[in-house]
Amino acid sequence: MKTEDQRATMNPSTTGSQTPADGGHTGARTASVDPARGAPSGRNIRALPASVLTPPPPAPSPRLDDYRDIIGQAQVDALRFLARDLKKKSIKMVNSTAVGGGVAEMLNRLVPLLSELEVPTHWDVITGGNDFFEVTKAFHNALHGSRYELTKAAQEIFLNYNEQNRERLQFEEELVVIHDPQPVGLIRSRDKSSASWVWRCHIDLSNPDERVWEFLRPFVEQYDAAIFSSASFARQLPIPQYLFYPCIDPLSEKNKDLPDSVVQKVCDEFGIDRRRPIVTQVSRFDRLKDPVGVVHAYKLAKKYVDCQLVLAGGGASDDPEGAAVLQEVKEAAGSDPDIIILDLPPWCAFEINAIQRASTIVVQKSIKEGFGLTVTEALWKGKPTIAGSVGGIPNQIIHKLTGVLVHSVEGCAFQIRYLLTHPDFARRIGASGREHVKENFLMTTNVKRWLLLFRILEESKAARGAGR
């Protein structure tokens, strides 16, 4: 078990000011929720129990051996074998935010595990003013396909802050990994280092604003390799491209096993009746997650099968669009007492875990999606899962084998009916879905991918050296 002090050493090193670049929940761990949120504001909106109104203390980082019961001794051995030849060689990870967002969450787990395997891994966070993070936020949206007018001023802000960070940071490791576009310009330091440089792109580049992409592309092409989260997110590049699926940590608050009594307690607190089927969607109140479509699908299905619908999400209290979507969901729900809407603060990972485990079926009827880690979470819990065939979801759901893909409200409604009335089939795809996650989407698989990539890059560096 690690002490608080030991954990603190795993956090990224930063100097200067920091602004979240991805709209993440910076500071969420020290925040508390608006007390008004605890009060119900409509028939379907459930009051939040006092236990979730303040964030819990951070959980300690797991050790590699803690995963043995999940992935098996043979897989733990494989990780140790892979790391053996890399001992004393080190990695630097650089991203743009220390807290909030999926990348920081992933690095918080990945860095200590690599270090435990004696592959010392250092995590640095770039710094920048509000102007820099406004530009990088706009770049982020543009790379996702939004229209953006790329000005000379924006380019200069981006380049100047990259230069400042380049002067501040040291690159003495054997592998340097730059996450996402914000610090991509740090590649200009590669001449001063003998490291292999890798660009890890966590966003979908399949349909970018061309001007922004053409501005960033010359930087990307200087790296030794790029990594994408799905083959469909990649671009044509002259450098090798690898596929690293995003992952979940099976020992995190969101995914760890829970005793049934704990699941029951959470359901009791939220007024969810476990004696009847529960259909759940966990996601922000965002139109791209189509929560209103889920309500319609539930209502169509309910003509044939008894069930409750739980919509557990957040984003309604700190985002005007989220509040509007929540209002639309409430209107669609009407007076149906079996629709339970939970507007949860961002630290409710444990409660989300319990609700997912209590569910009979999990739905993720997104219209547009990144990789869709809420699908991964549901599959890991062995839940028969119905999801929109968008973004990275088809990587996770092999139709009728590890879940069910749908393309419409009607399709979603039919699959809810089918899965609730064919429990053997539902159980089978749920079990296969869990195995799929175990094989491909766990944190330990991610550790393995980094070790494999590091070995491959070191071998190719050695081969280049021998050829000179």
């Binding site: 051995d77 494989a78 083959a231 469909s232 690898y242 296969s432 799929h436 094989e439 494999l452």
Partner: protein
């Protein structure tokens, strides 16, 4: 699976070294948005792409008992809605091939024949593209190197399914013969010819890799007992 009624005839001279392989997926430069492009891609993609989408995908989906054979078949069904072609591609057993070239020719031949019979299907845009990928593979040792039959069964039960896949399925590309590392060792080192043949007949397409492991262990234990 019937098990052979035979006994070990000798003590193995050489231990069985259980290895395992781990792979890293590379995104290739080719993709197909319709069946004609798949046909072209099948002819021109690197050998390791064919390997990835046939041999290797079985490892990635080792937990599925039925309905998954290779990525080409899966795409033809779910992205192109061509169940006939999907069934034909799915019926290709990778264990009939000891080299990628033969497997590639079979796949190309099936798609070619289908497109000749259904020319209108060639240009129909798929629901989602097929991305040709490949794997960088690293072979690793395990802690199991038994020199007895009992130790072999013990190792078999403890290694990962990746190791089973490595020795049982990928081996024929290494050996260039219609066999696998387990059957080879059992026959050559222990004289269990019938058991080796029984193992070779295990159907990998109607079993999970755990099921394959169990069947191999049952066959060897039967010989031991």
């Amino acid at each position: 699976m019937p098990v052979a009624d035979e006994q070990p005839v000798r003590h193995p001279n050489k231990p069985f070294y259980f290895n395992t392989s781990e792979n890293l997926l590379r995104i290739g430069r080719q993709k197909a948005t319709n069946l004609s492009e798949l046909w072209q891609g099948l002819q021109t993609c690197p050998d390791d792409s064919i390997f990835q989408h046939t041999f290797r995908t079985l490892q990635e989906h080792h937990f599925i008992r039925q309905g998954f054979s290779n990525d080409f078949a899966h795409w033809c069904l779910f992205a192109c809605n061509e169940p006939v072609l999907a069934e034909q591609l799915a019926s290709v057993d990778v264990r009939e091939f000891t080299a990628i070239e033969g497997l590639r020719r079979r796949m190309v031949g099936i798609v070619d024949e289908f497109l000749q019979q259904h020319p209108q299907s060639g240009a129909r845009v798929a629901y989602e593209p097929f991305y040709f990928c490949a794997s960088s593979i690293v072979v690793l040792p395990t802690q199991f190197a038994p020199d007895t039959l009992r130790g072999f069964v013990d190792g078999l039960r403890h290694v990962s399914v990746h190791s089973i896949h490595h020795h049982f399925i990928e081996a024929r590309l290494r050996l260039h013969r219609m066999s696998n590392d387990f059957s080879n060792w059992l026959e050559q080192e222990v004289g269990l010819k019938q058991s080796a043949e029984s193992i070779e007949r295990i159907d990998i397409y109607t079993n999970t890799m755990e099921g394959v492991r169990q069947q191999i262990a049952n066959i060897v234990e039967h010989a031991l007992n």
